[in-house]
Symmetry: C2
Subunit: 258 residues, 2 copies
Protein backbone atom coordinates (compact mmCIF):
# COMPACT_ATOMS: atom_id res chain seq x y z
CA UNK A 1 0.00 0.00 0.00
CA UNK A 2 1.38 3.42 -0.90
CA UNK A 3 1.92 6.00 1.79
CA UNK A 4 -0.68 8.71 2.32
CA UNK A 5 0.10 12.00 0.56
CA UNK A 6 -0.20 14.90 3.01
CA UNK A 7 -0.44 18.57 2.01
CA UNK A 8 0.96 20.87 4.72
CA UNK A 9 0.06 24.59 4.91
CA UNK A 10 0.35 27.34 7.53
CA UNK A 11 -0.20 31.06 7.92
CA UNK A 12 2.83 32.05 10.00
CA UNK A 13 5.07 31.50 6.95
CA UNK A 14 7.60 28.98 5.67
CA UNK A 15 10.15 29.72 8.42
CA UNK A 16 7.77 29.43 11.40
CA UNK A 17 8.77 27.00 14.18
CA UNK A 18 5.17 25.77 14.37
CA UNK A 19 5.34 24.60 10.75
CA UNK A 20 8.60 22.73 11.45
CA UNK A 21 7.00 20.96 14.43
CA UNK A 22 3.98 19.97 12.32
CA UNK A 23 6.24 18.64 9.53
CA UNK A 24 8.26 16.61 12.07
CA UNK A 25 5.04 15.06 13.42
CA UNK A 26 3.25 14.18 10.18
CA UNK A 27 6.44 13.00 8.41
CA UNK A 28 5.81 9.80 10.39
CA UNK A 29 2.47 9.30 8.65
CA UNK A 30 3.17 9.75 4.94
CA UNK A 31 4.75 11.62 2.07
CA UNK A 32 4.64 15.39 2.40
CA UNK A 33 4.16 18.39 0.13
CA UNK A 34 4.59 21.67 2.01
CA UNK A 35 3.21 24.89 0.48
CA UNK A 36 3.57 27.80 2.88
CA UNK A 37 3.42 31.60 2.53
CA UNK A 38 6.82 33.27 2.02
CA UNK A 39 5.96 35.75 4.82
CA UNK A 40 3.67 35.77 7.87
CA UNK A 41 -0.02 35.85 6.89
CA UNK A 42 -1.79 35.90 10.25
CA UNK A 43 -5.23 37.49 10.24
CA UNK A 44 -5.63 37.01 6.48
CA UNK A 45 -8.75 34.90 6.97
CA UNK A 46 -10.00 33.37 3.70
CA UNK A 47 -8.52 36.09 1.45
CA UNK A 48 -7.55 34.96 -2.05
CA UNK A 49 -5.21 36.65 -4.51
CA UNK A 50 -7.12 37.70 -7.62
CA UNK A 51 -5.16 40.71 -8.90
CA UNK A 52 -1.55 39.63 -8.49
CA UNK A 53 0.26 36.68 -10.10
CA UNK A 54 1.18 33.89 -7.72
CA UNK A 55 4.83 32.85 -7.54
CA UNK A 56 5.99 29.51 -6.20
CA UNK A 57 9.56 28.59 -5.23
CA UNK A 58 10.70 25.02 -4.72
CA UNK A 59 12.96 25.06 -1.67
CA UNK A 60 13.65 21.35 -1.15
CA UNK A 61 12.87 18.02 -2.77
CA UNK A 62 13.81 14.53 -1.68
CA UNK A 63 12.16 11.10 -1.64
CA UNK A 64 8.64 11.55 -0.27
CA UNK A 65 9.16 15.21 0.59
CA UNK A 66 8.86 18.52 -1.27
CA UNK A 67 8.76 22.03 0.12
CA UNK A 68 7.52 25.21 -1.62
CA UNK A 69 7.03 28.82 -0.61
CA UNK A 70 4.41 31.00 -2.23
CA UNK A 71 3.69 34.76 -2.26
CA UNK A 72 -0.04 34.15 -1.75
CA UNK A 73 -2.35 33.73 1.22
CA UNK A 74 -2.92 30.45 3.10
CA UNK A 75 -6.10 29.84 1.05
CA UNK A 76 -4.05 30.39 -2.14
CA UNK A 77 -1.44 27.91 -0.84
CA UNK A 78 -4.13 25.27 -0.27
CA UNK A 79 -5.60 25.79 -3.75
CA UNK A 80 -2.20 25.89 -5.47
CA UNK A 81 -0.83 22.93 -3.55
CA UNK A 82 -3.81 20.78 -4.44
CA UNK A 83 -4.49 21.91 -8.01
CA UNK A 84 -1.18 23.15 -9.46
CA UNK A 85 1.56 21.35 -7.51
CA UNK A 86 0.19 17.93 -6.50
CA UNK A 87 -2.45 17.80 -9.24
CA UNK A 88 -4.55 15.22 -7.39
CA UNK A 89 -6.57 15.14 -4.18
CA UNK A 90 -4.20 14.72 -1.21
CA UNK A 91 -5.15 12.08 1.38
CA UNK A 92 -4.90 14.64 4.16
CA UNK A 93 -4.40 18.39 4.51
CA UNK A 94 -2.91 19.74 7.74
CA UNK A 95 -2.32 23.40 8.60
CA UNK A 96 -0.35 25.01 11.41
CA UNK A 97 0.86 24.69 14.05
CA UNK A 98 -0.50 28.20 14.48
CA UNK A 99 1.35 30.37 16.98
CA UNK A 100 -1.68 31.39 19.05
CA UNK A 101 -5.33 30.47 19.49
CA UNK A 102 -7.77 29.73 16.70
CA UNK A 103 -10.48 28.70 19.14
CA UNK A 104 -13.96 30.25 19.21
CA UNK A 105 -14.34 33.37 17.07
CA UNK A 106 -10.65 33.46 16.14
CA UNK A 107 -11.46 30.86 13.49
CA UNK A 108 -13.15 33.61 11.44
CA UNK A 109 -9.92 35.66 11.16
CA UNK A 110 -7.52 32.74 10.81
CA UNK A 111 -5.46 32.06 7.71
CA UNK A 112 -4.47 28.68 9.16
CA UNK A 113 -8.11 27.63 9.37
CA UNK A 114 -9.00 29.15 5.96
CA UNK A 115 -6.58 26.65 4.36
CA UNK A 116 -8.35 23.88 6.28
CA UNK A 117 -11.81 25.05 5.17
CA UNK A 118 -10.48 25.14 1.58
CA UNK A 119 -9.67 21.48 2.05
CA UNK A 120 -13.19 20.76 3.33
CA UNK A 121 -14.68 22.51 0.28
CA UNK A 122 -12.77 20.05 -1.91
CA UNK A 123 -13.71 17.16 0.39
CA UNK A 124 -10.07 16.60 1.37
CA UNK A 125 -9.88 15.42 5.02
CA UNK A 126 -8.40 18.52 6.66
CA UNK A 127 -7.20 19.49 10.13
CA UNK A 128 -5.88 22.76 11.57
CA UNK A 129 -3.63 22.78 14.63
CA UNK A 130 -2.97 25.76 16.90
CA UNK A 131 -0.97 26.14 20.10
CA UNK A 132 -2.54 28.69 22.45
CA UNK A 133 0.80 30.05 23.52
CA UNK A 134 1.89 33.51 22.32
CA UNK A 135 5.36 33.30 23.87
CA UNK A 136 8.28 33.62 21.44
CA UNK A 137 9.70 30.42 22.94
CA UNK A 138 6.43 28.47 22.72
CA UNK A 139 7.15 24.74 22.95
CA UNK A 140 5.45 23.15 19.93
CA UNK A 141 6.92 19.69 20.61
CA UNK A 142 4.28 18.75 23.19
CA UNK A 143 1.65 18.98 20.42
CA UNK A 144 3.07 15.96 18.60
CA UNK A 145 1.23 13.09 20.34
CA UNK A 146 -2.10 14.92 19.87
CA UNK A 147 -1.38 15.69 16.22
CA UNK A 148 -0.54 12.03 15.63
CA UNK A 149 -3.59 10.72 17.49
CA UNK A 150 -6.02 12.96 15.58
CA UNK A 151 -4.34 12.72 12.17
CA UNK A 152 -4.22 8.90 12.40
CA UNK A 153 -7.95 8.78 13.22
CA UNK A 154 -8.73 11.02 10.25
CA UNK A 155 -6.54 8.95 7.90
CA UNK A 156 -8.24 5.74 9.10
CA UNK A 157 -11.86 6.93 9.28
CA UNK A 158 -12.06 10.02 7.07
CA UNK A 159 -14.40 12.85 8.06
CA UNK A 160 -18.04 13.50 7.13
CA UNK A 161 -18.44 15.24 3.76
CA UNK A 162 -17.49 18.95 3.71
CA UNK A 163 -16.36 18.84 7.33
CA UNK A 164 -12.94 19.63 8.82
CA UNK A 165 -11.38 19.89 12.28
CA UNK A 166 -10.18 22.86 14.31
CA UNK A 167 -7.73 21.56 16.94
CA UNK A 168 -6.41 23.87 19.66
CA UNK A 169 -3.77 22.80 22.14
CA UNK A 170 -3.68 24.55 25.52
CA UNK A 171 -0.71 26.50 26.81
CA UNK A 172 0.12 24.56 29.92
CA UNK A 173 3.22 25.22 31.93
CA UNK A 174 4.08 22.42 34.25
CA UNK A 175 0.59 20.93 34.59
CA UNK A 176 -0.15 18.14 32.12
CA UNK A 177 -2.58 18.27 29.19
CA UNK A 178 -5.57 16.23 30.38
CA UNK A 179 -6.58 14.79 26.99
CA UNK A 180 -8.81 15.52 23.99
CA UNK A 181 -12.39 16.89 24.10
CA UNK A 182 -14.81 17.07 21.13
CA UNK A 183 -16.56 20.42 21.56
CA UNK A 184 -18.36 23.31 19.85
CA UNK A 185 -17.09 26.81 19.01
CA UNK A 186 -17.65 29.15 21.97
CA UNK A 187 -19.54 32.40 21.40
CA UNK A 188 -16.90 35.06 21.98
CA UNK A 189 -15.72 38.31 20.44
CA UNK A 190 -12.84 40.75 20.30
CA UNK A 191 -13.47 44.04 22.02
CA UNK A 192 -11.53 46.34 19.71
CA UNK A 193 -9.75 49.45 20.71
CA UNK A 194 -8.00 51.71 18.26
CA UNK A 195 -4.88 53.50 19.39
CA UNK A 196 -4.95 56.91 17.80
CA UNK A 197 -1.45 58.33 17.17
CA UNK A 198 0.26 61.09 15.17
CA UNK A 199 3.12 60.27 12.79
CA UNK A 200 6.26 62.54 12.59
CA UNK A 201 4.42 64.59 9.94
CA UNK A 202 1.49 65.22 12.33
CA UNK A 203 -0.82 62.95 10.35
CA UNK A 204 -3.26 60.70 12.22
CA UNK A 205 -3.09 56.96 12.19
CA UNK A 206 -4.66 54.08 14.12
CA UNK A 207 -3.42 50.75 15.41
CA UNK A 208 -6.02 48.02 15.66
CA UNK A 209 -5.84 46.28 19.01
CA UNK A 210 -8.30 44.37 21.11
CA UNK A 211 -9.15 42.18 24.06
CA UNK A 212 -10.69 38.72 23.73
CA UNK A 213 -14.06 38.39 25.50
CA UNK A 214 -15.82 35.08 26.00
CA UNK A 215 -19.63 35.33 26.28
CA UNK A 216 -20.12 31.58 26.64
CA UNK A 217 -19.47 29.47 29.75
CA UNK A 218 -20.75 26.23 28.22
CA UNK A 219 -18.75 23.18 29.34
CA UNK A 220 -19.22 21.82 25.81
CA UNK A 221 -17.14 24.64 24.26
CA UNK A 222 -13.56 24.92 23.01
CA UNK A 223 -12.87 27.78 25.43
CA UNK A 224 -13.95 25.65 28.40
CA UNK A 225 -11.83 22.70 27.23
CA UNK A 226 -8.73 24.87 26.78
CA UNK A 227 -9.18 26.64 30.13
CA UNK A 228 -9.31 23.20 31.73
CA UNK A 229 -6.12 21.95 30.01
CA UNK A 230 -7.83 19.82 27.36
CA UNK A 231 -7.02 19.80 23.65
CA UNK A 232 -10.21 21.08 21.92
CA UNK A 233 -11.42 19.53 18.67
CA UNK A 234 -14.26 21.39 16.92
CA UNK A 235 -15.72 19.87 13.73
CA UNK A 236 -16.39 22.72 11.29
CA UNK A 237 -18.39 23.19 8.13
CA UNK A 238 -18.76 26.23 5.87
CA UNK A 239 -22.54 26.57 5.90
CA UNK A 240 -23.01 29.92 7.63
CA UNK A 241 -26.82 29.73 7.45
CA UNK A 242 -28.58 30.36 10.74
CA UNK A 243 -31.17 27.66 10.02
CA UNK A 244 -33.25 28.41 13.09
CA UNK A 245 -33.74 32.01 11.89
CA UNK A 246 -35.27 31.04 8.52
CA UNK A 247 -38.83 30.38 9.83
CA UNK A 248 -38.71 33.61 11.90
CA UNK A 249 -38.26 35.67 8.72
CA UNK A 250 -40.72 33.80 6.51
CA UNK A 251 -43.24 36.66 6.53
CA UNK A 252 -40.58 39.01 5.12
CA UNK A 253 -41.06 37.33 1.75
CA UNK A 254 -42.72 39.56 -0.86
CA UNK A 255 -43.60 39.59 -4.52
CA UNK A 256 -42.13 41.98 -7.10
CA UNK A 257 -41.44 45.50 -5.77
CA UNK A 258 -40.08 47.22 -8.89
Amino acid sequence: MSKPLILVINDDGIHAPGLRALIKAVRQLGDLVIVAPDKPMSGMSHAVTLNTPLRVHKLKEEEGYAEYSCNGTPADCAKLGHKAIIGRKPDLLVSGINHGSNASVNVVYSGTMAAVIEGAMENVPSIGFSLNDYSINADFSKCEPYILSIARKVLENGLPDYTCLNVNIPAVNGSPIKGIKIVRQALAYWEESFEHRKDPHERDYFWLSGTFRNRDNGEDTDEWALRNNYVSVVPLHFDLTSHKTIPLLRDWETGNLN
Copy 2:
Protein backbone atom coordinates in the same frame (compact mmCIF):
# COMPACT_ATOMS: atom_id res chain seq x y z
CA MET B 1 -37.47 60.54 17.73
CA SER B 2 -33.96 60.83 16.32
CA LYS B 3 -33.15 59.30 12.97
CA PRO B 4 -31.45 55.89 12.85
CA LEU B 5 -27.66 56.05 12.47
CA ILE B 6 -26.53 53.79 9.63
CA LEU B 7 -22.92 52.65 9.05
CA VAL B 8 -22.23 51.94 5.36
CA ILE B 9 -19.29 49.76 4.23
CA ASN B 10 -18.32 47.99 1.01
CA ASP B 11 -15.43 46.01 -0.48
CA ASP B 12 -15.32 47.39 -4.02
CA GLY B 13 -13.92 50.67 -2.68
CA ILE B 14 -15.08 54.23 -2.04
CA HIS B 15 -15.61 55.02 -5.74
CA ALA B 16 -17.70 51.96 -6.62
CA PRO B 17 -21.09 52.60 -8.28
CA GLY B 18 -22.64 49.91 -6.06
CA LEU B 19 -21.72 51.91 -2.95
CA ARG B 20 -23.28 55.05 -4.45
CA ALA B 21 -26.53 53.17 -5.17
CA LEU B 22 -26.61 51.81 -1.59
CA ILE B 23 -26.01 55.30 -0.15
CA LYS B 24 -28.81 56.74 -2.32
CA ALA B 25 -31.20 54.06 -1.04
CA VAL B 26 -30.44 54.12 2.69
CA ARG B 27 -30.16 57.95 2.82
CA GLN B 28 -33.98 57.80 2.92
CA LEU B 29 -33.87 55.84 6.19
CA GLY B 30 -31.49 57.72 8.44
CA ASP B 31 -28.21 59.53 9.06
CA LEU B 32 -25.22 57.92 7.37
CA VAL B 33 -21.56 57.33 8.15
CA ILE B 34 -19.72 55.77 5.21
CA VAL B 35 -16.36 54.05 5.80
CA ALA B 36 -15.10 52.36 2.66
CA PRO B 37 -11.73 51.00 1.50
CA ASP B 38 -9.65 53.44 -0.54
CA LYS B 39 -9.13 50.73 -3.20
CA PRO B 40 -10.97 47.58 -4.31
CA MET B 41 -10.83 44.84 -1.68
CA SER B 42 -12.75 42.00 -3.31
CA GLY B 43 -11.80 38.53 -2.14
CA MET B 44 -10.29 39.85 1.10
CA SER B 45 -12.69 37.79 3.20
CA HIS B 46 -12.43 38.57 6.92
CA ALA B 47 -8.78 39.72 6.77
CA VAL B 48 -7.79 42.33 9.36
CA THR B 49 -4.80 44.66 9.34
CA LEU B 50 -2.52 43.91 12.27
CA ASN B 51 0.94 44.97 11.02
CA THR B 52 0.23 48.26 9.25
CA PRO B 53 -1.20 51.49 10.69
CA LEU B 54 -4.69 52.34 9.52
CA ARG B 55 -5.22 55.74 7.88
CA VAL B 56 -8.62 57.37 7.57
CA HIS B 57 -9.49 60.34 5.33
CA LYS B 58 -12.65 62.38 5.77
CA LEU B 59 -13.95 63.08 2.28
CA LYS B 60 -17.27 64.80 2.99
CA GLU B 61 -19.32 65.97 5.95
CA GLU B 62 -22.72 67.59 6.02
CA GLU B 63 -25.83 67.43 8.23
CA GLY B 64 -26.59 63.75 8.83
CA TYR B 65 -23.89 62.52 6.46
CA ALA B 66 -20.15 61.80 6.70
CA GLU B 67 -17.92 59.91 4.32
CA TYR B 68 -14.49 58.41 5.01
CA SER B 69 -12.01 56.29 3.07
CA CYS B 70 -9.62 53.93 4.82
CA ASN B 71 -6.52 51.98 3.74
CA GLY B 72 -7.75 48.84 5.53
CA THR B 73 -9.94 45.88 4.66
CA PRO B 74 -13.76 45.85 4.82
CA ALA B 75 -13.56 44.18 8.28
CA ASP B 76 -11.19 46.98 9.40
CA CYS B 77 -13.67 49.57 8.04
CA ALA B 78 -16.50 48.02 10.05
CA LYS B 79 -14.42 47.97 13.24
CA LEU B 80 -13.03 51.48 12.73
CA GLY B 81 -16.38 52.93 11.73
CA HIS B 82 -18.08 51.56 14.81
CA LYS B 83 -15.34 52.00 17.42
CA ALA B 84 -13.14 54.91 16.29
CA ILE B 85 -15.37 57.09 14.09
CA ILE B 86 -18.94 56.77 15.41
CA GLY B 87 -17.93 55.68 18.90
CA ARG B 88 -21.32 54.11 19.63
CA LYS B 89 -23.31 51.18 18.28
CA PRO B 90 -24.94 52.15 14.97
CA ASP B 91 -28.63 51.26 14.57
CA LEU B 92 -27.89 49.46 11.31
CA LEU B 93 -24.85 48.38 9.30
CA VAL B 94 -25.22 47.88 5.55
CA SER B 95 -22.53 46.71 3.14
CA GLY B 96 -22.38 46.69 -0.66
CA ILE B 97 -23.89 46.78 -3.14
CA ASN B 98 -21.31 44.20 -4.15
CA HIS B 99 -20.56 43.98 -7.85
CA GLY B 100 -21.14 40.24 -8.24
CA SER B 101 -22.57 37.31 -6.31
CA ASN B 102 -22.03 36.63 -2.62
CA ALA B 103 -24.48 33.74 -2.65
CA SER B 104 -23.63 30.20 -1.49
CA VAL B 105 -19.91 29.61 -0.91
CA ASN B 106 -18.92 33.09 -2.16
CA VAL B 107 -19.82 34.38 1.29
CA VAL B 108 -16.64 32.77 2.62
CA TYR B 109 -14.38 34.87 0.34
CA SER B 110 -16.39 38.08 0.50
CA GLY B 111 -15.10 41.29 2.04
CA THR B 112 -18.60 42.78 1.76
CA MET B 113 -20.02 39.99 3.91
CA ALA B 114 -17.07 40.04 6.37
CA ALA B 115 -18.05 43.62 7.28
CA VAL B 116 -21.61 42.37 7.86
CA ILE B 117 -20.44 39.46 10.04
CA GLU B 118 -18.33 41.97 12.03
CA GLY B 119 -21.58 43.79 12.69
CA ALA B 120 -23.25 40.57 13.85
CA MET B 121 -20.35 39.89 16.24
CA GLU B 122 -21.07 43.25 17.88
CA ASN B 123 -24.83 42.61 17.76
CA VAL B 124 -25.37 45.48 15.34
CA PRO B 125 -28.27 44.62 12.95
CA SER B 126 -26.33 44.12 9.71
CA ILE B 127 -27.19 43.42 6.08
CA GLY B 128 -25.02 42.77 3.02
CA PHE B 129 -26.35 43.46 -0.49
CA SER B 130 -24.93 42.03 -3.72
CA LEU B 131 -26.04 42.31 -7.33
CA ASN B 132 -25.30 39.15 -9.29
CA ASP B 133 -24.31 41.05 -12.38
CA TYR B 134 -20.65 41.19 -13.41
CA SER B 135 -21.21 43.59 -16.32
CA ILE B 136 -19.32 46.89 -16.13
CA ASN B 137 -22.64 48.65 -16.74
CA ALA B 138 -24.56 46.69 -14.11
CA ASP B 139 -27.75 48.56 -13.18
CA PHE B 140 -27.73 48.88 -9.38
CA SER B 141 -30.84 51.13 -9.30
CA LYS B 142 -33.29 48.22 -9.49
CA CYS B 143 -31.95 47.00 -6.11
CA GLU B 144 -33.39 50.01 -4.28
CA PRO B 145 -36.94 48.80 -3.49
CA TYR B 146 -35.54 45.52 -2.13
CA ILE B 147 -32.89 47.30 -0.06
CA LEU B 148 -35.57 49.57 1.40
CA SER B 149 -38.01 46.71 2.11
CA ILE B 150 -35.42 44.61 3.93
CA ALA B 151 -33.62 47.46 5.74
CA ARG B 152 -36.97 48.85 7.01
CA LYS B 153 -37.93 45.43 8.38
CA VAL B 154 -34.57 45.13 10.15
CA LEU B 155 -34.84 48.65 11.60
CA GLU B 156 -38.39 47.90 12.86
CA ASN B 157 -37.89 44.34 14.13
CA GLY B 158 -34.16 43.93 14.68
CA LEU B 159 -32.55 40.54 14.04
CA PRO B 160 -31.93 37.61 16.38
CA ASP B 161 -28.75 37.97 18.46
CA TYR B 162 -25.48 37.44 16.54
CA THR B 163 -27.34 37.01 13.24
CA CYS B 164 -27.06 39.04 10.02
CA LEU B 165 -28.47 38.90 6.49
CA ASN B 166 -26.87 38.03 3.15
CA VAL B 167 -29.05 39.53 0.40
CA ASN B 168 -28.37 38.72 -3.26
CA ILE B 169 -30.26 40.36 -6.10
CA PRO B 170 -30.54 38.46 -9.37
CA ALA B 171 -29.20 39.75 -12.69
CA VAL B 172 -32.37 39.94 -14.69
CA ASN B 173 -32.51 41.53 -18.09
CA GLY B 174 -35.98 42.36 -19.18
CA SER B 175 -37.83 39.82 -17.04
CA PRO B 176 -38.98 41.19 -13.67
CA ILE B 177 -37.63 40.22 -10.23
CA LYS B 178 -40.32 37.95 -8.77
CA GLY B 179 -39.88 38.96 -5.12
CA ILE B 180 -37.96 38.00 -1.96
CA LYS B 181 -37.28 34.44 -0.71
CA ILE B 182 -35.86 33.51 2.72
CA VAL B 183 -33.46 30.65 1.98
CA ARG B 184 -30.34 28.76 3.06
CA GLN B 185 -26.78 28.91 1.66
CA ALA B 186 -26.43 26.41 -1.21
CA LEU B 187 -23.60 23.85 -1.08
CA ALA B 188 -21.36 24.91 -3.95
CA TYR B 189 -17.68 25.33 -4.68
CA TRP B 190 -15.20 26.95 -7.04
CA GLU B 191 -13.39 24.55 -9.32
CA GLU B 192 -10.03 26.25 -9.49
CA SER B 193 -7.71 26.25 -12.41
CA PHE B 194 -4.32 27.87 -12.36
CA GLU B 195 -3.03 29.41 -15.54
CA HIS B 196 0.68 28.75 -15.65
CA ARG B 197 2.62 31.43 -17.55
CA LYS B 198 6.19 32.66 -18.02
CA ASP B 199 7.08 36.30 -17.40
CA PRO B 200 9.49 38.19 -19.77
CA HIS B 201 12.40 36.94 -17.61
CA GLU B 202 11.31 33.30 -18.13
CA ARG B 203 10.14 32.96 -14.54
CA ASP B 204 6.99 30.98 -13.82
CA TYR B 205 3.86 32.51 -12.39
CA PHE B 206 0.24 31.47 -11.90
CA TRP B 207 -3.10 33.22 -12.23
CA LEU B 208 -5.83 31.92 -9.97
CA SER B 209 -9.02 31.38 -11.89
CA GLY B 210 -12.03 29.17 -11.44
CA THR B 211 -15.52 28.07 -12.38
CA PHE B 212 -18.45 28.15 -9.96
CA ARG B 213 -20.05 24.72 -9.42
CA ASN B 214 -23.31 24.22 -7.55
CA ARG B 215 -23.69 20.81 -5.88
CA ASP B 216 -27.10 21.61 -4.42
CA ASN B 217 -30.43 21.69 -6.26
CA GLY B 218 -32.53 22.36 -3.15
CA GLU B 219 -35.44 24.73 -3.85
CA ASP B 220 -34.81 26.22 -0.39
CA THR B 221 -31.36 27.57 -1.43
CA ASP B 222 -30.07 30.98 -2.47
CA GLU B 223 -28.83 29.57 -5.78
CA TRP B 224 -32.31 28.25 -6.62
CA ALA B 225 -33.95 31.56 -5.69
CA LEU B 226 -31.51 33.59 -7.82
CA ARG B 227 -31.82 31.24 -10.81
CA ASN B 228 -35.58 31.75 -10.58
CA ASN B 229 -35.35 35.58 -10.46
CA TYR B 230 -35.97 35.94 -6.73
CA VAL B 231 -33.96 38.10 -4.33
CA SER B 232 -32.34 35.63 -1.87
CA VAL B 233 -32.10 36.45 1.83
CA VAL B 234 -29.95 34.07 3.90
CA PRO B 235 -29.73 34.66 7.66
CA LEU B 236 -26.13 34.02 8.73
CA HIS B 237 -24.33 33.42 11.99
CA PHE B 238 -20.62 32.88 12.68
CA ASP B 239 -20.79 29.57 14.51
CA LEU B 240 -18.91 27.27 12.11
CA THR B 241 -19.42 24.21 14.33
CA SER B 242 -20.82 21.18 12.50
CA HIS B 243 -23.02 20.28 15.47
CA LYS B 244 -24.24 17.01 13.95
CA THR B 245 -20.62 15.77 13.68
CA ILE B 246 -19.86 16.17 17.41
CA PRO B 247 -21.53 12.89 18.56
CA LEU B 248 -19.86 11.01 15.66
CA LEU B 249 -16.40 11.89 17.00
CA ARG B 250 -17.14 11.38 20.70
CA ASP B 251 -15.01 8.21 20.87
CA TRP B 252 -11.97 10.15 19.62
CA GLU B 253 -11.70 11.69 23.07
CA THR B 254 -8.65 10.52 25.04
CA GLY B 255 -6.80 11.20 28.24
CA ASN B 256 -3.26 12.59 28.49
CA LEU B 257 -0.89 11.38 25.73
CA ASN B 258 2.35 13.17 26.68
